[in-house]
Symmetry: C2
Subunit: 658 residues, 2 copies
């Protein structure tokens, strides 16, 4: 094959499945270590030694080194039972190896162990974190000057923070109304219908339906209308944060004669299970998680969304937020966010209803990099398609990605109020590295807090930005994670030259696997492929003419999974995949075409099976080398192994004779 600068570079970005770049990694790590060592030696050299050479010859020292070395050997031996994420044979969860840049960046900063809670404990890495937040915001299409982004320990905390902030934004007009009344100031606000109105004249339904941006304009207006200290105290007396739900709802009841039903959160039916944790913990309650059906591509159905909103509006149920997914955990499905935003706009105009729109792009966020060229301009779907197909044989499956609609969905991220993106997923960064970006940086003020220590002084670079712990949910956190993401972004820019190329290669790999599986002569088995993925997760299941019930088919696929995973202790699978279960009601509708093609068991049988659901095998293609014709053909290898393991699993799948 011919090569391009990016395809050449790809081979320098990772250690490699054979650790082909071991010398490079070792050189850089050693450099980082020694650089740190000599930094220590250069700091007040007049202080002399604390640990002397003679100390190292004492028995206790020697014993401690022996213990350390011995236990490390034990750990290293244990670690070998880990998962070979690095290998082309691993096609399971969203895990691969990490970029060398992120590994070295993490390690180099870890030696300094900065804590990004505040600049005082991380003069360098807090700035790197803000820079990374800004880069991610730009990749989403946000204005870096007006947005706000930072890292988190992972996606759950990031999504939690998004909803926590959203609740404060949506309820802010209520707090502002109470505060303004108390302060005797009159404020104007853009009402749900679009006209400007007096805050004091809105009813409760209108107040909870003010567009998030207009709520924040109200924030600005309130602070300008009265002295800071008074505003602060008055807001304090009227906000949910202070009052807590019980008193807050009681007050609404007293003030408006009816607190309205509990506010709900709309999510795609396929949303990650952590959303249930999140609404439980926030006190919203999982009953208030309203699931929006997905279509047969596992994307939130915009028409169904509209219907839900209309129905909720009829019952005057406030909506806190709508969670759209960019890259579902199971299928890598990308919601049509552009259409979700259109629905919100329509709801605002026709129903006077508004809410926060959040994109859970924890998995798929980095795929937005493919939409940018090296000059900061958007690329057309056509240009991306040319690049994905590369110079390999013309491949219709590969040529089909991305669609115009996919590109529009990605560009629509710029219109979401917040987006969560995990660098430790498609960013190929070591754990822990989650991230969140908000379109409107003012929102962080609504959750800000002032601790007694760590207050920035005058001299401290002055900007309040430098004390992250004030504005984010977490406190102490590794500056090393910021350095890892930062260095990786330096080496792999967030556009077609870097991360965009990397994601394209994984898509090309997923599509190669898809084509290989679809062209496979599976006889006597039948391989059923789910729709072509929006990013890089290939889902499929295997059946056999002798299997007559859903449970039998499920057992066959569970059996294949058991043979192609590390789930059985001591297993040495040749290829590693994973599996999920499509259950009711999450997959209602979406599963119908699959069951039809399966020809075993009806939708009713599937529903009656409850949590058993339909077992679906999954291969996440994080491996950017898979599509390359010069590398081992793991697509064919996986496909052949699948059939061999299916043959072995078949016997156990059938119902025992009655």
């Amino acid at each position: 094959m011919t090569t391009s600068p990016s395809s050449d570079a790809l081979r320098a970005w990772f250690l490699g499945p054979r650790a082909e770049n071991a010398e490079l990694l070792e050189r850089l790590l050693t450099e980082a270590l020694r650089d740190h060592v000599f930094w220590r030696r250069n700091f007040h050299p007049e202080d002399g030694l604390t640990i002397r050479e003679m100390d190292k010859r004492r028995e206790g020292y020697d014993q401690a080194v022996a213990t350390l070395t011995q236990e490390l050997m034990g750990l290293l031996a244990e670690l070998k039972r880990g998962v070979p994420f690095f290998s082309g044979r691993y096609k399971g969860h969203m895990a691969f190896e990490q970029t060398i840049a992120s590994q070295v960046g993490y390690f180099a900063a870890m030696l300094y162990n900065p804590n990004n809670v505040a600049i005082e404990a991380s003069p360098v890495t807090t700035r790197l974190e803000l820079e990374v937040g800004s880069q991610l915001a730009r990749m989403m299409g946000y204005d870096p000057e007006r947005s706000w982004g930072h890292l988190t320990s992972g996606g759950t905390v990031a999504n939690f923070e998004a909803l926590w902030v959203a609740r404060n934004v949506i309820y802010f007009p209520l707090a502002a109304r109470g505060a303004a009344d108390e302060l005797g100031v009159e404020l104007e606000v853009e009402c749900p219908g679009g006209k400007r109105g007096r805050l004091g004249e809105l009813d409760l339904w209108e107040l909870v339906n003010i567009h998030p941006s207009h709520a924040m304009d109200l924030w600005d207006a309130l602070w300008q209308a009265a002295p800071r200290k008074d505003v602060q105290a008055a807001l304090h007396r009227h906000s949910l944060q202070t009052l807590g739900y019980q008193e807050y709802i009681a007050r609404l009841d007293r003030a408006f004669g009816d607190p309205l039903p509990p506010s709900v959160v709309l999510v795609a039916a396929t949303a990650h299970y952590s959303w249930e944790k999140i609404v439980r913990a926030l006190g919203i309650g999982s009953n208030q998680l309203v699931f929006v059906p997905v279509d047969s591509h596992y994307r939130m159905d915009p028409d169904a969304l509209w219907e839900k909103i209309r129905e909720l509006s009829d019952r005057r149920v406030p909506i806190l937020a709508c969670i759209s997914v960019c890259g579902t955990t199971e299928e890598s499905a990308v919601d049509r966010l552009d259409r979700v935003l259109e629905v919100r706009e329509r709801a605002r105009k026709e129903l006077g209803v508004s809410f926060h729109v959040h994109s859970d792009a924890c998995y798929g966020g980095y795929a937005a990099a493919v939409t940018w060229d090296g000059e900061g301009n958007r690329r057309s779907a056509e240009a991306i398609r040319r690049s994905v197909n590369g110079d390999g044989p013309a491949d219709p499956v590969r040529q089909g990605w991305p669609s115009q609609e996919w590109v529009r969905s990605m560009e629509a991220l710029a219109g979401a109020d917040s987006v969560t993106i995990d660098p430790h997923k498609l960013g190929y960064i070591p754990y822990p590295a989650g991230a969140i970006v908000f379109r409107d940086r003012r929102v962080r003020e609504l959750v800000a807090i002032d601790p007694p220590y760590l207050l920035p002084t005058q001299g401290l670079g002055s900007s309040e930005d430098l004390f992250l712990g004030r504005f984010v949910f977490e406190g102490s956190k590794p500056g090393a994670a910021a350095a890892a993401v930062w260095l990786s972004h330096k080496v792999l820019p967030l556009d077609e030259r870097g991360y965009g190329y990397l994601v394209e290669r994984t898509v090309a790999g997923a599509r190669k696997l898809y084509t290989t599986l679809s062209e496979l002569d599976a006889d006597p088995f039948r391989l059923i492929l789910l729709p072509e993925p929006d990013i890089n997760i290939v889902c499929f299941l295997v059946t056999h003419p002798s299997l007559k019930t859903l449970s039998e088919v499920n057992r066959l696929n569970e059996g294949i999974y058991a043979r192609m995973s590390l789930s059985v202790p001591g297993a040495q699978p040749r290829y590693i995949i994973t599996r999920t279960r499509f259950q009711t009601p999450m997959y209602d509708g979406a599963v119908d075409p699959v069951l039809e093609r399966l020809g075993v068991g009806s939708v009713e049988d599937w529903k009656a099976g409850g949590t058993e659901g339909l077992v679906v095998l999954r291969s996440t293609v994080m491996d950017p080398f898979l599509a390359d014709p010069d590398t081992p053909d793991h697509a064919t290898g996986l496909a052949r192994t699948l059939l061999e393991e299916a043959a072995l699993a078949l016997g156990e799948a059938k119902e025992p004779p009655a």
Copy 2:
């Protein structure tokens, strides 16, 4: 000085202020790296190479390596502006260098990048995390078989999880009551007063005052009384997690005619600011954070706690939890937890009131290691005192630690319902490593969740323990953190031989600094020392006869801080300390003796100053070498520097003439 096995070993535990152990660290890191490299090469060697030597000679590859190397050099240069936590000259926040074991353990596992969300992504490190959880539980005095512990990204998330779980435990009897009614089963429970009663006959006040352990017994009883599926569904219909606050409170109102006032959380007035974030996010509301005054040693006052409880009981305000602190962030004060638990017992007997007791030992948790000898027995205060004083000159300040009461407070951790402990603080582990342990492992079922994927199969080691994401708030998280803590605990056991010794040395160092400062001839300045610390944070402030107002004294100390910190860009302080502000109402009462000794400004002046408060300088002694007579005398160095900087800062402190 003579040495002991532990004092010798101490010198092998850290890289050292001059990087004296650089060779050791480099050897172990290289070992870990190469071991990983050859693991990759041994995995299906028949697959051949993906990155060939020829590929490394292409221009694009070379450019990528150049970019990586260049940017890494840039990062390394940047990092040198970081904080020299490793140096004896750093006596600021709770930060020092990390144990070599934890650095190497983190690095070794990071190469494998396991994700401890589930065993499928971390077959090794999930087990290490459970082992570490069990070790920490044992250090708290818990029964490892009946307790449950795991790592978190940090203290905020750990404390959040504690209160989230506590809320579910305290409200469980209410859900059980609703579920039992629906299922038509009758259950008995131990009532607040101590007698057994029928659940269906208790009133709301009694239901929310059932002791946490009895609430969990009720949990067991309910599951035994009816089929699992029915219980699950019924609980689902009655729990706060499902209903959310708004509907939950409305139901209480309907069922009992009065929902009672909002439940409160008792905290020491000096509790970490994150508690405010936590109650806000949980929907409890910061108004429900009831501050219990501290005594002049900054410990929660048990008598004041009793008074608060009695008063709340009179008003029939339910208490969710009482948060006691083991090692305050500002002063390292250790609450008399034994007395807090006595107060709870008294409240149960005399008032029929109960609640969850949580110890926020994020900072001080590892200090419990000093109470254990190498055989798993508790040590006496006397034995510890002998060890702390070592063989140096008899030092009354050093000899005074620990008191009998301190040891009892530590032993009382065994009676708390939950404890949070940050390995990344006194555990000398790199960020991120927080932890939480619950005395009763059953509580985790109250927050458990079942995601569709990652379901353990039969073969999967079978235990449900192996899918951590089910029971904890976070999802994806670094298995490397577990390996770091695990390896460090192997080298430094959680008793007098390892972490106990390490903490003792920091206490000895803090007391050496305390003695040095108290014996300092500060003329013309006056140095006011706060009480001897419970662990290792020395607080003090400087004044001068010419300063006549609190603001002037505050300005002097702010000026000293600015000169002895990295808060001013480009600063090159000789010693680094930090500072806090004692503000009203948190320090009401506690600050009085300090103001009295200061002789400038009354308590009323201080209160009138509001957030300005009293600026207090702080030195956290994490450095275990400080007390060693053979090492550079940084206690004297810091004291001298303090006076020199005070002289320079004095001019700016005075009020300009009117």
